[in-house]
């Protein structure tokens, strides 16, 4: 039974190299840290859950070298159904925004981080 789950993970891993999923990240934890595969997956989940709990409480989360997740309050505004043109009120809400750090921005542009950045 466990074997079949493992096989499906490997297949998913190989079938789409352009999308990284929990399975890939857990696999990296497994090889880097030397915990069991199960525990690696659990720890990854705990990381994401801690982030979610902080954000849910309205806290911002700052990961140096990566970026900042913060919660922004949006006021009420009048929207429009683009298909019918009918005006509908959009209620006040909280949305999550992510601001990438200079380091992350440099990395995705193939630059060495730290050359022209001011803040991590």
């Amino acid at each position: 039974m466990f074997r079949s789950i493992d096989v499906s993970c490997v297949v998913a891993y190989a079938s789409n190299m352009n999308t990284v999923t929990r399975a890939h990240l857990a696999e990296h934890i497994y090889t880097q840290v030397g915990l069991s595969r199960n525990e690696s997956a659990d720890l990854l989940e705990s990381v994401l859950e801690r982030l979610a709990v902080a954000l849910q409480a309205g806290d911002s989360v700052k990961i140096s070298g990566f970026g900042t997740f913060s919660v922004r309050q949006k006021g009420r505004r009048i929207g429009r159904n683009p298909k019918t043109g009918v005006e509908v009120p959009i209620l006040p809400r909280s949305v999550l925004v992510f601001r990438p750090s200079q380091v992350l921005k440099a990395r995705v542009n193939g630059q060495e981080p730290g050359i022209e950045d001011d803040a991590g």
Binding site: M17, N18, T19, V20, T21, R22, H24, L25, H28, I29, Q32, V33, L35, S40, L43, L44, S46, V47, L48, R50, L51, A52, A54, L55, Q56, A57, G58, D59, S60, V61, K62, I63, S64, G65, F66, G67, F69, V71, Q73, L91, P92, R93, S94, V95, L96, F98, P100, L104, K105, R107, V108, N109, G110
Partner: protein, 99 residues
């Protein structure tokens, strides 16, 4: 919350692990997301969100201090879109009035 606070929280929730290992786990997660984006891949974490990159065309910017025109080359920017579950959790705080 900062990265070190995140590590401290995880360490106290997992007393059987070395805090060095917790640190390595947290760094691995963010380093791998960074590496994936750097090679042009997307990272999709169901329920949490997806990290992708977006292409930005070259444009003529302006130095806000001098008003001088500056050429800004095309570039790629990292982007995060919150997943449905996280989006709803963030929006469901008791403080906000909801109809």
């Amino acid at each position: 919350m900062t990265k070190s606070e995140l590590i401290a929280e995880l360490a106290s929730a997992n007393p059987h692990l070395l805090s060095r290992d917790i640190e390595l786990i947290v760094s691995t997660v963010f380093d791998e997301i960074t590496a994936a984006l750097a090679r042009g891949a997307r990272v999709e974490l169901r329920g949490f969100g997806a990290f992708t990159i977006k292409q930005r065309d070259a444009r003529t910017g302006r130095n806000p201090r001098t008003g001088e025109a500056v050429a800004v080359g095309e570039k790629v920017v990292p982007f995060f879109k919150a997943g449905k579950e996280l989006r709803e959790r963030v929006n469901k705080r008791p403080t906000g009035r909801r109809a």
